[in-house]
Symmetry: C2
Subunit: 125 residues, 2 copies
């Protein structure tokens, strides 16, 4: 065991956090955390992120109810990326209604939807 | 199917690429790609990245031989993150010799090594 200093400097105050389904290992999304979002995530046990577009802290699921309960936090060899295993409430991480934000395969510049759809966004937002 | 414009602008020319083991779903690492690295990845079928510290394009495994053969490329709902499923040659993605760069659990500011070690870095580099 050793003390870790998370490297928030490489991206000017934020760090990428990969969110993975703790049950089946599916990668659900990638978000960015600043120090405050990371600390809120640890303190509350629910994933919080820094929105680069809205320039504000937000809790995943604060609007949809589809929160992410943290099961495990891992850090990479350079201390500059997090991997967070979660239980995804409602079964869907993506605001488009899919289980994973990565619901499309990319091939020769075109995307094919093949992800699992859980809800209709119009019913939620 | 629809044409995709990958968003390289949010991080000034680079995009995060999550690398996942195609066989068992373990997240191996996160790297950044600029447009050239992405195009080389697609063209060659092997993961290429942009090194932010060395400011150069590199192929994963170019020194160690531990290359990553691309099986599938996925893109997220915002077109600003890639998820790439690979076959990891040599069984280890991390230059520290572990299967995954996320070989440590983070808890209360301390890290505990619990990842699978595949090789001794001194034997390779």
């Amino acid at each position: 065991m050793n003390k870790i200093k998370i490297d928030f400097d490489k991206l000017e105050g934020i760090i990428p956090a990969i969110i993975q389904d703790a049950a089946d290992g599916q990668v659900l999304m990638l978000g960015f955390m600043n120090r405050e979002a990371f600390e809120k995530t640890v303190k509350t046990g629910y994933a919080h992120f820094w929105s680069r577009s809205r320039k504000k802290l937000w809790m995943k699921g604060e609007t949809s109810g589809h929160t992410q309960a943290v099961q495990e936090i891992r850090i990479d060899c350079d201390n500059d990326t997090l991997l967070i295993k979660v239980i995804q409430k409602g079964g869907a991480a993506c605001h488009e209604g899919y289980k994973s934000c990565f619901y499309r395969t990319l091939n020769k510049g075109t995307a094919t939807v093949d992800g699992e759809k859980i809800f209709n966004p119009e019913d939620i937002y």
